[in-house]
Amino acid sequence: MSRVLRIELRRSAALGSALILLAVGTLLLFFVDRSVFTTGWMQLAMTQRLYLAVLWPLALAAGAWQGRREHRTNVTELFASTPRSRAHRAVPTLLAMALAVVAGYLAMGIAGGAWIAGTARYLPASVFAVLAVGVLALVAAVWLGLAAGRLLPSPATAPALGLAGLGVLLLLPGATRPHGWLALVFSPIYEMNLPDAYTTVPGRASVAQAVWLAALAVTAVLLVVSGGWRLRVAALLPVVLGAAVAIAAMPRDNRYVIDAVDPVARELVCAHDDPRVCVSRVHAGLLAEVVPPARAALTVLAPLPSPPTQVHEDTTTYVPARYPPWHDDVVLLRVDAGSDGHLANRDLVLAEVVAGAFAGPADCDHLAGPDEKMAAAYWLIGRAPATPGAVALWQNLRQRPEGEARARVVALRRAALGCTVQDGQLTR
């Protein structure tokens, strides 16, 4: 068996399938938009799942191609004279193809992982659930392909099945609207796009998807080993049962994954020494890059009366709306990973922290505008801002005597903290 498995791994479509999945998956990861997965392991796992939109149909087609082999090579006559059953004969092929797609998918993950290994720290268990569902989706696809190729041994089966798979994945969301949760049960790619930094995939969603995909895989195996219509009809049982259990297990909430927030990913982790600089746990790997410009910004802000003394990551999420607690002495800073996995817009961090000193609590009605914040920030830094609106305000400040300009900047911060900013506060 192990010798035969080794032969199958070498000589079947397994090796080619693994390489195709790896190549296509890696190209998608790196050339579509790298910054969607560079935030961390969860984002990488979810992005891999999203690209199943291409890989899943490919696995279907690869399976169908391999499934046609006995028919294509005309060995049925010879094999019919041997004692080993059709089911036994299929086992090494099933294993080889499953190993191939799993290896291709994991290798794609390793390629993406190598890119972010230096900066990604936070590795919750749910990442493995997301990965496992992706793996299971590919195994089910390649086995389903094997069954199709075996039952309909035509050269058109592989491409037709691939296109059908792509069609199913693309049409499922529209077909199930307004019951988005239903698409989440049956589509491994649904709601996996553009993952937020603090996003997670709830365990129940992964469990429901895994149940469905496992049932699909069992049905595929039964179809592969089936010699007659009786077993083929029986093969429908697991898939129907799996669908029912998965539907029962999936919560009836639309946007179940998109709106999910991982509170642990959102928790702050801080640099050891003062002044305090903190980022969310998911961005912990970027802390060392945030600290120097953030502290430099606090130094710039130090001359203000009761200046801010800490910089925290702004961990606001809009759906559901959750804001970090407001403290007057804490500046909030949006932190994002760039396409290289490192801190995005590193040159702007200093100015953003300084400008953050002119922000107000989230529930304010009268906040300073972005141009005003930037103009005040760049006046404190002593450089010209980059945005034209801010430049005009900044020049207005510069033309005034030093003391007056400072008084206006101080007044803007006081007004921002008190939610009393008026139009033209800085220059009136």
Binding site: V4, I7, T73, L78, T82, P83
Partner: protein, 272 residues
């Protein structure tokens, strides 16, 4: 050297490897084997007959690929008709179909090994048996070449290698000499004699001289029935100077067929 299992050394309890009585086998809707009585023991049996005589259908039935439509068929001492469990019988069968299908990406060694696995050979015996089968058909130098790179003659030999890898008690070769050059055919006859010492070999062919040279006896069938079963010398003795053919055996073949056809035309219900 290889370990020999108890099953292999156990004495055979069946007098005949093939024992058919009134055997009927369909090819599609047509009854291609129609009331055949045949018993075959050790040795090399040449299966002769014109096109459409039912040679391939008989081979397929003996290879357990098609189930008999009627009559009684016992293979290696076990019933092979109806709902019988064929696993034990199949372990003792080697079969080279007329259209030998193979996996082109496999090497010769891999394909023979794969066939050994399908024949449920003991795991430990497979590598040695594979090598021996490849050596016996003279493909040692090509053992690690892909099947798709082999010439027609080499493919036939690879087909024979897979058929004999399990040391079958019943070896069925359907037109194995097609594509072999004269020298290879001589080697092949040598191999047949060698295998036929301790197993039952049935070789279907159109080449009467192959049968005379390599077979211990001749089975001649026509229209699904046994016409003649005897030694090659018997066959040669049947022909006269007036019969078609370039050798005594060929003349015997023509004579037997001519007489069988004449008898069939005279009494069309004969033997039913």
């Amino acid at each position: 050297m290889r370990t020999v299992s108890a099953a292999e050394t156990a004495p055979t309890t069946h007098p005949w490897a093939v024992d058919a009585e009134g055997l009927r086998v369909r090819a599609g809707r047509h009854l291609a084997v129609d009331g055949l009585d045949l018993t075959l023991g050790l040795g090399v049996h040449g299966l002769l007959g014109p096109n459409g005589a039912g040679k391939t259908t008989l081979m397929r039935a003996l290879a357990t690929v098609v189930k008999p439509a009627g009559g009684r068929l016992t293979l290696l001492g076990e019933p092979a008709g109806g709902r019988a469990d064929l696993r034990r019988v199949r372990r003792g069968i080697g079969y080279l179909p007329q259209q030998f299908g193979f996996y082109p990406r496999f090497t010769v060694r891999e394909f023979v090994e794969y066939m050994a696995w399908l024949k449920e050979m003991p795991k430990a015996a497979v590598p040695g048996a594979t090598q021996r089968a490849i050596d016996r058909v003279g493909l040692t130098a090509k053992a690690d070449a892909r099947m798709k790179t082999l010439s027609g003659g080499m493919l036939r030999r690879a087909g024979i290698a897979q058929a004999i890898v399990n040391d079958p008690a019943l070896l069925l070769l359907d037109e194995p000499t097609v594509g072999l050059d004269p020298e290879q055919r001589l080697d092949f006859r040598e191999l047949l004699r060698d295998v036929g010492v301790d197993s039952c070999v049935l070789v279907s062919t159109h080449l009467v001289e192959d049968v005379v040279a390599a077979c211990t006896d001749v089975v001649l069938i026509n229209e699904g029935r046994l016409v003649h079963h005897g030694t090659p010398d018997d066959l040669a003795a049947q022909g006269g100077a007036g019969d078609a053919g370039d050798s005594p055996a060929e003349r015997g073949y023509s004579a037997l067929l001519r007489r069988h056809r004449a008898a069939g035309a005279a009494t069309p219900e004969a033997g039913r």
